[in-house]
C-alpha cells in the first residue's frame, strides 16, 4: 500500500509519497486547500520512508535530502521545502511573502516577512468571518488583476491558541508541535473558509509590537508600496524585469498602508471601515 499527496501553487505541483500512509496523514489534512490536479507540471517529488519508529528518511527526486528526521520535524520541514520548490518554479507572476483574506468587498493583503504578525492577524480575521487565501505567500496575476494564495493550514505561533479555542467546537483539525506552534485547518472557522482567488482592495504592511498603541496607520505612496513589495518578493529571478513591472502594477492599483499594532481588534475595526 502506498500513498501520495500532491499540492500546487503558481502553476506547478509538488508530490509527497510514502509506502506508509500514516507518514503523510498530517500533510493530507493540512495541505488539502492546496491539492493539485493531475495536469500541472511536477517540479519535485519527496519520498518518505520510516527508518525507525520515530524518524523518517526524505528522498527528493531520487537523492537523499534528509537521512533521518523526527517525524514531527519532517512534516514541518516538508511543508517549507515543498513551498520553496513551488515558489522557485513559479513564472506566472510575482510571489510575495504575504497573507491574504477576503471580505465582501475584496481581498486584503497582509505583506511582510516572518515575525511581522501576518499569520496571527490572518487567523484573527478568519475568526471574524473573512475568507482565507493564505497566511504565507500570494501570487499576483497582473493580467487578471487578482491574487491567488497558497491555502495551507494556518501556522500559528506559540501563544495563539486563543484564536481558535472559541471556534473549534470539537471540530478543529489542529496539529500541535513540540515548539508550541500548531497547524490549524482553516475550515475550523467555516466550511467555506477557503477562497482560491480574489481582486485585492487593500494592501497592508503589518508590524505587531507589544509596546505600540492599539493601532497606528500610515498611508503609503505607490512608490513606498512598491519598495516594500520588492523586499518581500520571492521569485524575482523567474520574472521579466525581475518582477518590478508587475509589482508596480499592484502598487498602482491597490491602496497601501503601513500598520503598527498591538490590538488585533483595532486592525479588524479599521479594515472594516477602509
Amino acid at each position: 500500500m502506498s500513498a501520495a499527496v500532491c499540492i500546487q501553487f503558481g502553476g506547478n505541483a509538488v508530490r509527497f509519497a510514502a509506502e506508509d500512509p500514516a507518514l503523510l496523514a498530517p500533510l493530507e489534512v493540512h495541505l488539502r486547500g492546496c491539492a493539485a490536479s493531475e495536469s500541472l507540471p511536477l517540479v519535485s517529488e519527496f519520498h518518505l520512508t520510516a527508518v525507525s519508529r520515530t524518524s523518517v528518511q526524505v528522498v527528493e527526486n531520487g537523492s537523499v535530502l534528509f537521512p533521518a528526521l523526527e517525524r514531527e520535524t519532517a512534516w514541518q520541514v516538508l511543508l517549507q521545502e515543498g513551498l520553496a520548490r513551488l515558489n522557485a518554479a513559479c513564472r506566472l507572476g510575482p510571489v510575495f511573502h504575504a497573507g491574504a483574506v477576503r471580505d465582501a468587498r475584496g481581498g486584503v493583503i497582509l505583506c511582510g516577512g516572518s515575525g511581522c504578525g501576518k499569520s496571527t492577524l490572518t487567523a484573527y480575521l478568519l475568526t471574524r468571518g473573512f475568507r482565507y487565501l493564505s497566511d504565507e505567500v500570494i501570487l499576483w496575476e497582473s493580467a487578471q488583476g487578482q491574487i491567488r494564495g497558497f491555502a495551507r493550514s494556518l501556522v500559528l505561533k506559540p501563544g495563539a491558541a486563543f484564536l481558535w479555542q472559541g471556534h473549534a467546537q470539537g471540530r478543529a483539525k489542529r496539529l500541535p508541535f513540540a515548539d508550541g506552534s500548531a497547524w490549524l485547518e482553516p475550515r475550523t472557522f467555516s466550511a467555506q473558509a477557503i477562497c482560491r482567488q480574489t481582486r485585492p482592495r487593500l494592501l497592508l504592511f503589518p508590524q505587531y509590537r507589544t509596546d505600540a498603541p492599539p493601532l497606528r496607520v500610515r498611508p503609503l505612496s505607490p512608490a513606498e508600496s512598491l519598495f516594500r513589495l520588492l523586499q518581500n518578493l520571492v521569485n524575482a529571478r523567474n520574472l521579466p524585469a525581475l518582477g518590478m513591472q508587475a509589482a508596480a502594477e499592484l502598487a498602482r492599483q491597490v491602496p497601501a498602508c503601513a500598520i503598527e499594532y498591538a490590538s488585533l481588534e483595532a486592525v479588524h475595526a479599521w479594515i472594516q471601515t477602509h
Binding site: P222, A223, L230, A241, L242, M244
Partner: protein, 91 residues
C-alpha cells in the same frame, strides 16, 4: 575637486519605476533597492553623466527661485547619498 564641478553619473543596470513623481530603483546584481521621494527623483533625473553638480543646482534654482538656498544645500547632499548607496558615480 570641489563638489560643484563633479559630474554625477547613474550606475548602469539599475531598473527604475516612476510612480507619481517618486522613483524606485533596483540593481539586482548589486542587491540595491532604493526609494526616492519627489525631490530625490527630480535630482536623479537630472544626473545624466554630462551635467555637473553646479549645473544641476543652477537648473533647480532657476525652476524653484524661492528655494535656491535650500537647493544649494540639499542637492549636493542628496547626490552624495545616492553615490554612497551605489546609484551614482562622481567624476
Amino acid at each position: 575637486m570641489d563638489a560643484l564641478s563633479s559630474i554625477p553619473c547613474p550606475v548602469e543596470d539599475f531598473q527604475a519605476q516612476t510612480l507619481e513623481g517618486e522613483i524606485v530603483l533596483l540593481h539586482p546584481a548589486c542587491n540595491i533597492l532604493l526609494h526616492l521621494n519627489p525631490t530625490g527623483a527630480l535630482i536623479w533625473s537630472l544626473c545624466d553623466g554630462r551635467r555637473s553638480m553646479g549645473e544641476i543646482v543652477a537648473l533647480l534654482g532657476a525652476a524653484y527661485p524661492q528655494a535656491q538656498e535650500q537647493i544649494a544645500a540639499d542637492a549636493p547632499r542628496i547626490v552624495q547619498e545616492l553615490a554612497a548607496y551605489g546609484a551614482l558615480t562622481l567624476t
